[in-house]
Symmetry: C2
Subunit: 219 residues, 2 copies
DNA sequence: ATTTTCGGCTAACATGTGTTAGCTGACTGG
DNA sequence: CCAGTCAGCTAACACATGTTAGCCGAAAAT
């Protein structure tokens, strides 16, 4: 009744997952990871893989889900820190980059398969990101009073910038990382300020900006 | 001297390039495109491929370069339209989405290999994007008076948002495309307005904790 | 006219892949 | 204790891939 059987099974299942994660790197994406390679690294026969996943794709989706869990934890942790009354943007960015730093391979997985070959992958990742975006939009809506559609647009932009800079952060040399964090913060502040400035003049959505872009000089 | 030999060679070279482009789609990325497949579609023997490219990677880099050329044309065309005095942002976005629409496969190539497995690819694409970003930064610097580092940050954010929304545009159903364009324009305007609002208070560049979004004042 | 160059071809190889069939032996449930 | 389950294994298959070796014939060079 202890389930010594199921226990062992779960154990090697974790071995497989871990093996897959270990093999991910800058030079190897999940897409060109072979079932046999994973099985080899997990220390099982290739055919045993099928006892746990019907597909490499199924494995991949599992990884994405696990990643979703980790991201929730991340957000929770970020919110906790924010209770301490520091700038949301700063804390969010730092937390996110910390996540990237600690889970480079899983982040690379998201990054790559987001625009990958498998629709199931793309959808799963889009779902995760949307989760992220919507929660942020709600938060913005409540704290800034921006109407929900605009808040959604803002958080969407914030997430996109953060995600993209996370990708650069991943490969940046150590001495540039802090600078990259600062850049990201500034860019997010662009967006936050710009969105805030539209609260009082939402009609500026129409193409009549006052910005000093009068005429240009060809370069 | 007519070079009837070189002429034929160039012709099949183009056949190869065209074959590669034809095989790209939502379901097939350049990364998992095989030399033999390309050769087959190009109507040549697999081994003949080597007469033109040493590698699939070399082919890929060629495609990226070609894409760069197309993008330059795009920018030129956008600038021309802008002489007609419409909002830069609107025209830029529309032009970019037009490019995505007309060159879905080559855009997908950029999108995917940007975070792909080959460093050469990543670098080549980063170079192309930087080209794009720097020219835009210069333009912003000259027209808005924003100091160059900030202009760089702004254009970087603009490009990232545009690029990302281009990816969504690619797979969006027809009835959502115009909406996506409008969303993109609004998001870019967030950034433009936000950056403009920092011209007079550049000290907010520093991530000092006073600049939280909860307490930002309208300009 | 003769030789060289060279783009394209066929044949073949060594290798890695996903997947099926079927055995074994330890755990499980009665 | 005994029959059944089932995770893991070996062996094997059919297949696709990258790449080498070497021939052929037309264009180019001499």
């Amino acid at each position: 009744m202890a389930g010594i059987r199921a226990q062992k099974k779960e154990k090697t299942r974790q071995m497989i997952i871990q093996a897959a994660l270990n093999q991910l790197s800058a030079e190897q994406s999940f897409a060109n990871l072979s079932l046999r390679e994973v099985a080899r690294e997990a220390g099982i026969a290739p055919t045993s893989f099928y006892r746990h996943f019907k597909d490499m794709e199924e494995l991949g989706l599992t990884l994405v889900d696990e990643c979703g869990v980790t991201l929730r934890q991340l957000m929770r942790s970020a919110r906790k820190k924010f209770d301490d009354d520091i700038s949301v943007i700063k804390v969010s960015v730092e937390t996110f980059m910390e996540f990237v730093e600690n889970n480079p391979n899983i982040f690379r997985l998201l990054l790559r398969e987001r625009s990958g070959t498998s629709k199931a992958f793309r959808d799963a990742i889009a779902r995760e990101v949307q989760h992220f975006t919507i929660e942020l939009a709600d938060y913005l809506h409540e704290t800034t009073g921006l109407d929900l559609p605009l808040a959604k647009l803002q958080s969407d932009a914030l997430v996109k910038i953060t995600f993209n800079n996370g990708a650069e952060y991943l490969d940046a040399p150590v001495e540039n990382k802090q600078e990259l964090i600062n850049s990201t913060i500034t860019q997010l502040r662009f967006i936050a300020n710009g969105a805030a400035s539209m609260i009082n003049k939402p009609e500026s959505k129409e193409p009549s900006p006052s910005g000093g872009m009068t005429e240009n000089e060809s370069s």
